[in-house]
Symmetry: C2
Amino acid sequence: METKKTDRRVKYTKMVIKESFVALLKEKPVSKITIKEICEGADVNRATFYAHYADQYDLLRKIEEELIFDVHQYITGDCISPSPATKDMLTKIFSYIRKNAEICRVLLGDHGDNYFQEMLTQLVRQQFISEWTAQKSVSQDDAEYIYTFILTGCVGVIKKWLSQGMQKSDESFAELIIRFADKGSSAF
Amino acid sequence: METKKTDRRVKYTKMVIKESFVALLKEKPVSKITIKEICEGADVNRATFYAHYADQYDLLRKIEEELIFDVHQYITGDCISPSPATKDMLTKIFSYIRKNAEICRVLLGDHGDNYFQEMLTQLVRQQFISEWTAQKSVSQDDAEYIYTFILTGCVGVIKKWLSQGMQKSDESFAELIIRFADKGSSAF
DNA sequence: TAATAAATCAACACTTTGTTTAATAAAAAG
DNA sequence: CTTTTTATTAAACAAAGTGTTGATTTATTA
């Protein structure tokens, strides 16, 4: 991502804009952040901002999509079964989140928006449903409910883990998540 | 709630403002809704709006708090165990949500905000934790994670139920939620 | 070094905001 | 029913942010 943008000025501009924006997001929700503020913090002209983004929300969206793109790389088949492969996958994802803890904490925190969370769950959704309906004799409808329960539950737990400074190691946290997913699956 | 406000003019004003606001919330997120718009939709002077609310977000907050207050009435002790009392309690809550489906769907939908969801979970939180640590030999820390998993998971399922037109009856949906909570509890 | 592209600056009309004043209308109290 | 009280209105205001423009300067690439 962002490797084809040759011009260094563009790279720099986008970087400082994002930094300024994320810093503001720590203090208040997007809705209270003005483009003027972002530009002052980044020491960038307002016209330059509009050359790259439509508004604050567009900027937020693009930041989120970058993260989603990265996380997407880690997602492989076999999302739920408590296999070593799954544990490995989750550990890598949590390690990535830890590396980007600052922005992840903001996006999943009180000032974040639902969209990011929604995209995260959609990422695993299809994988999940198809695995489920194949393995067990569960109707599509029931599978949707189970999936929703487990996924939103796990995201909630991840948010808690993040907001409390990620005390548990990536690996042990992956084990915890697998346990939750496994127990949730047994609801039918 | 709102029964001591004697002056009928105030009652009316608040009512039309809320109606106009909720109608707008169906179309777009709070952040895109202007006070001017709300007032035009309600046919109320802008100065009148400021006499009652600080801004859109204050208005949203007050609407949410009214709902939370109502739901709070239904919450009694014994939140989790799959007892008939629990089922009865949940059925009543879902019936209330169904009666206020329009606003609930908006607040828990894509244009809603996290705060409402947060308040809903906080409502059950203390009850939950204390029951848990008493019944089973679980550390406070583990209990927090289990609670988070179950609660956010259940709220996710409720959101799905709402957004899909509440096909399941209040009673059968209460049973579903109890089943999820029970299975989630068995994670330790 | 020349050509190209990006960022800046200043100015623009426009919208929304939050507040204030006096005037008007409606409700509650006597 | 009349008086008093209170809510709402209307109009005007400065302040701030928005989104866009055209000319200029600066940095990058080739």
